[in-house]
């Protein structure tokens, strides 16, 4: 006896099957994400969604503190609030330090997940070398761990570099008074020489080497400054005719090299630590506004160089043959807040980037007012 299936039931069955296949595909459960979207020196990435390059499936992104609503709240990381986190650093003990720029303070995310203020007072900009909440910063936007476990902070609005002990005592490491504008705000300046008399203009990114030299992305002056262990400030030279635009973060590699993210020109510069810096070419074609940079070392000579792109709201790895999109989407849209695998994750104006071991990155997700962790499962790919 032949049984006939009603055509509507058949149609529903086919649609259901197609839907299941589609869901499985989008969840990444079937099929390998196609790689090498544009190939060559063009930016590459993982899965293609709507024709736009996306991050890698083996990369995982999670929010470790804060949420998009800005504010100030200490406590468990899920309940903590930040306002414009601009830079992040990982301390020797594994604690994570954040330059919480619109709150004008330095916050710490402990290994237990508790968020606390280390120095400065939320919502009270100023300049004061004191301890804990008595100290004052003005929109700090850079932070790095120093040789002795203390922190160096780019006190961007005060045009100074500050030093913060893990007990919260704040002192001025470099930078002098500069003229005030009609709103009685310091305008910054440019002067090399002894650190106490040196002048900076909107310093942002910081990096510290094993010889206690401090490298400063002096964004307002469009150059990289070096504060030697002896306290002498100098300017790193650049080679060629190109000029640094607005350097905002820098990172040191294991091969005695320095990497600089240049936000306004969309470029990346690299060179020996004593200079000169040279602008990278085709290998970084496609960046919009590189804002953060970090180097993950894997052994004495191997390193992966990673870029936070505030213009495209995503993370890249620099490779010899071109950029590799590791998290977020290069789709021309304005970013978002989404945890998950690299191809699904979303950022909003990611600013600072810091390495946290061989396969972890921390992102100060400025636009989302939160701190993100990026885990490169399998170690990611290595720079040549």
């Amino acid at each position: 006896m032949k049984r006939e299936v009603h055509p509507i039931i058949g149609l529903v069955g086919i649609l259901l099957a197609l839907t299941i296949v589609q869901v499985l595909y989008w969840r990444g459960l079937i099929g390998e994400p196609p790689e090498g979207v544009r190939g060559g020196a063009e930016p590459r990435g993982g899965k293609v969604a709507s024709g736009a390059p996306s991050g890698l499936a083996e990369v995982s992104v999670s929010t470790i503190a804060g949420e998009p609503a800005p504010g100030y709240r200490d406590g468990p990381s899920a309940e903590a609030r930040f306002d414009g986190p601009a830079a992040v650093a990982v301390g020797a003990r594994g604690d994570i330090y954040v330059a919480d720029s619109r709150n004008h303070c330095v916050r710490v995310v402990g290994r237990s997940g508790q968020v606390a203020i280390l120095a400065g007072a939320a919502g009270e900009p100023g300049y004061a070398d004191r301890a804990g909440v008595e100290a004052r910063f003005f929109a700090p936007a850079g932070i790095a761990a120093a040789w002795d476990g203390s922190l160096l902070v780019a006190d961007t609005g005060n045009h100074r570099i500050r030093r913060v002990t893990l007990e919260g005592r704040v002192s001025t490491y470099a930078g002098a008074d500069t003229p005030l504008d009609d709103l009685e705000r310091p305008v910054g300046g440019y002067r090399d020489g002894p650190s106490a008399g040196a002048e900076f203009r909107y310093p942002v990114g910081l990096a510290v080497d094993e010889n206690r030299a401090v490298y400063v992305a002096d964004s307002g002056n469009g150059c990289v400054r070096v504060i030697s262990a002896g306290g002498e400030v100098s300017t790193l030279p650049v080679s060629g005719e190109a000029e640094l635009g607005t350097p905002t973060e820098l990172a040191l590699g294991p091969g005695e090299e320095i990497w600089v993210a240049d936000t306004s020109t969309g470029g990346v510069w690299a060179g020996p630590r004593e200079g000169p810096l040279k602008r990278l070419g085709e290998e970084v074609e496609g960046l919009a506004a590189p804002s953060g940079i970090a180097v993950l070392s894997r052994g004495s000579d191997e390193a992966g160089v990673y870029i936070a792109d505030a213009g495209k709201h995503c993370l890249w790895q620099i490779r010899k043959e071109g950029l590799l999109l590791i998290a977020g989407q290069d789709d021309g849209y304005g970013g978002g807040w989404e945890d998950g695998p690299g191809y699904a994750a979303q950022f909003s104006t990611p600013a600072g980037l810091a390495g946290g071991g061989a396969d972890e990155l921390y992102v100060a997700d400025f636009g989302n007012n939160c701190l993100r962790r990026v885990t490169l499962r399998g170690g990611g790919e290595e720079a040549d």
Binding site: L183, G220, T248
Partner: protein, 360 residues
């Protein structure tokens, strides 16, 4: 018989003329054609109406006596902005003639009777808004970002600055508030609402993710501590009358909060708040003239009373309408005529219709 016929004819002609005049007087009367663009829409006092036209390089402050006066050029300059009119004076900022990036601007008082001007203050940039009252002049300056290409350096973000000085130009320039815009945000984060009883009122627009909140604040002049009065969800507007702060709020009854707004009023004397209108279109523009509050809607001009239910429609918007502002008993309009703009006056009362025939 002939005399009676003549008398009736004259009477009919007079009645007809009066009727035609009455009808015609309700229509907008063109004051002048605009040369270029309207940079500041018409605003005025009991005696004068003024506006700024032209372009940024050469802008002209135009002024006319209310109720029938002929417009004339009161001031020519670069980048005239932030117009306010008080009695026989206009306050406006004029950009320096320098080509340098560091060029600033001057806040001027222009005597509209004589066309003479005097500088009251030096500004870094031209003021976006000027408000006055009780001997004080307040203005809003928008400072450009120090690092415009970098969206996350808060210290270098654009700023909105509210400042004040006495109207006679004596004493210091006081900074009332400095608001750091979020990096990447453009102008217009804060708006000056007005000055009343020696207090300056303004509103701040604060964004959080995709939501926006409007916060209404005030400060006692010249050096008080800023105080937050009201917070309303969404992008709101406010005006100041002689005795109340009036602002738009989410509709209390309208199901679609993005289509309808309510209007609330807060007494300056005792802080009492009440709703004076609801179900108004979100496209309407809140305006105030003396103690009267108006909403210039998509098609109508509404006059709001002091209580809910007292609102009434005054006039239909003319078809060539670009923008308009109620000044006293007249509405001054910018109308599009073919490819040009014109400034016109429309009486809102019978008395103002009659006065438009009799320049005083």
């Amino acid at each position: 018989m002939k005399l009676r016929l003549l008398a009736v004819t004259v009477l009919l002609a007079a009645a007809g003329a009066v009727t035609i005049a009455a009808v015609r007087s309700a229509r907008p009367r063109v004051l002048s054609e605009v040369g270029g663009r309207v940079l500041s829409p018409p605003t005025g006092s009991d005696r004068w109406v003024a506006w700024v036209e032209g372009d940024q390089e050469e802008s002209r402050l135009m002024a006319a006596r209310r109720h029938g006066g002929r417009p004339r050029v009161a001031l020519i300059g670069r980048g005239l902005s932030g117009l306010a009119v008080a009695e026989d004076s206009a306050f406006v900022t004029r950009a320096d003639e320098s080509e340098e990036d560091e060029a600033g601007a001057s806040l001027l008082r222009v005597d509209l009777r004589t066309g003479t001007s005097e500088a009251l203050a030096r500004l870094t940039t031209g003021a976006e808004q000027i408000a006055f009252g009780d001997g004080w002049l307040c203005w809003r300056e928008e400072r450009e970002a120090a690092l415009p290409e970098v969206p996350f350096v808060v210290a270098a973000a654009p700023l909105t600055v509210l400042r004040a000085r006495s109207t006679n130009g004596s004493g210091d320039v006081h900074t009332l508030a400095i608001m750091g815009g979020r990096p990447g945000e453009g102008k217009g984060r804060a708006e000056l609402v007005g000055v009343a009883e020696a207090e300056a009122y303004w509103l701040e627009r604060r964004t959080s993710g995709s939501s926006e909140t409007t916060v209404f604040r005030r400060v006692a002049l010249p050096r008080g501590e800023p105080e937050t009065l009201i917070r309303e969800a969404g992008r709101r507007a406010a005006v100041l009358t002689q005795d109340a702060l009036v602002w738009t709020a989410p509709s209390l009854e309208g199901a679609e909060s993005n289509q309808f707004v309510a209007v609330k009023r807060r007494s300056l004397r005792n802080g009492a708040v009440k709703v004076i209108a609801d179900w108004l279109s979100t496209t309407g523009e809140l305006q105030a003239s003396h103690d009267e509050v108006y909403v210039q809607g998509r098609s109508w001009l509404w006059h709001l009373g002091s209580e809910r239910g007292e609102q009434r429609r005054l006039r239909r918007r003319p078809g060539r309408f670009v923008t308009g502002r109620v000044v006293g008993d007249e509405q001054y309009l910018v109308l599009r005529s073919r490819d040009r703009l014109a400034v016109a006056a429309r009486p809102l009362t019978w008395w103002s219709r009659i006065r438009s025939f009799i320049p005083l």
